[in-house]
């Protein structure tokens, strides 16, 4: 696994974008540790495509007392374990499989965690056969990511 890019926010930001992603890896891993100005459901978009109609997801989630499975908010990479303004960041890892393939839609697996709210496992699909060159992280609630939030991108090399 190779570290490709990372940022620790020095000031609040509403989006984080990874661009010019090289095509020399097999899979990508995104690791996020974030707080926000308020409750924020993080979203992931590829190559500037922010149309929900081009994405789908299925969520498995637990909040400590109940379990949930939903398919709403197709670009979201969390459900119960969203980012908040408290001292506990939500921690999200996203694996984007075979991101350079041009013969398949792009599948991602996300795990979102925040002990104060819940834990989520999410499978996502971007209905495009384009290679992924840009990843944008924003949120569905018009909140900003707080200073100190970290976003890191890694490339996983095939054998």
């Amino acid at each position: 696994m190779v570290a490709l890019a990372t940022t620790t926010l020095g000031s609040a930001a509403s989006t984080v974008t990874f661009s010019s992603i090289p095509g020399t890896y097999r899979d990508l891993r995104l690791v996020i540790s974030a707080t926000a100005s308020g409750g924020a459901d993080l979203r992931m978009s590829f190559n500037g495509d922010n149309s929900d109609g081009n994405y789908s997801r299925v969520v498995m989630s637990g909040n400590g007392s109940s379990t949930f499975s939903v398919t709403s908010s197709p670009r979201a990479i969390d459900y119960y374990a969203n980012a908040t303004s408290g001292s506990e960041p939500n921690v999200i890892t996203v694996d984007v499989m075979d991101y350079m393939a041009t013969d398949k839609h792009k599948t991602s697996l996300a795990r979102a965690n925040r002990a104060g709210s819940g834990t989520d496992a999410i499978a996502l699909r971007w209905a495009s056969t384009s290679a992924v060159t840009t990843i944008l992280i924003d949120n569905a609630n018009s909140q900003t990511f707080s200073t100190g939030s970290t976003f890191a991108l890694y490339g996983i090399v095939s054998a």
Binding site: V91, R114, G116
Partner: protein, 174 residues
Amino acid sequence: MAITKIAEITVGSGGAASIDFTSIPGTYTDLLVVHSIRSTQAIVSAYATLTITPTSSTYSMRGLYGTGSGAGSFTTPVNYIGELTGANATSSTFGNGQIYFPNYAGSTFKSYSTDSVGESNGSAANQSLTAGLWSTTSAITGISIVSTSGTFVQYSSATLYGVLKGSSGGVVVS
């Protein structure tokens, strides 16, 4: 490479009540523990708890589990870190799991996530996902996986990796 093995521990013939990583350097960004453990507890799926050094009792957790016949969500024990295989599971079978600690050396509270399964060829093999929090601003210098009943059998193992952030390949962040 972004991921480096820091230490690997394999339980010897006498068994062990815990697997302990100590003197963890603060030079990485995140930590990853991968474990494969079987317990002497007379049950199919056992579980383990976590002790972080410097020691404190400020843990909290929310988890999601499946048993093969049902699912549920839970919040205790607060330092639960995963399912193991117990003595009543299929022989020669060990559980597997991982624990991820982002920003473990930073000055904020430490969130972590776990994914684990107590393997067995039959019913009542549990799988769990959890979100954990160690509400301490100290850097993590030690991690112990602790048996809750019985001991870990010989050949149980855990490996500690350091993940280092960086930049290469011209990726731009904005």
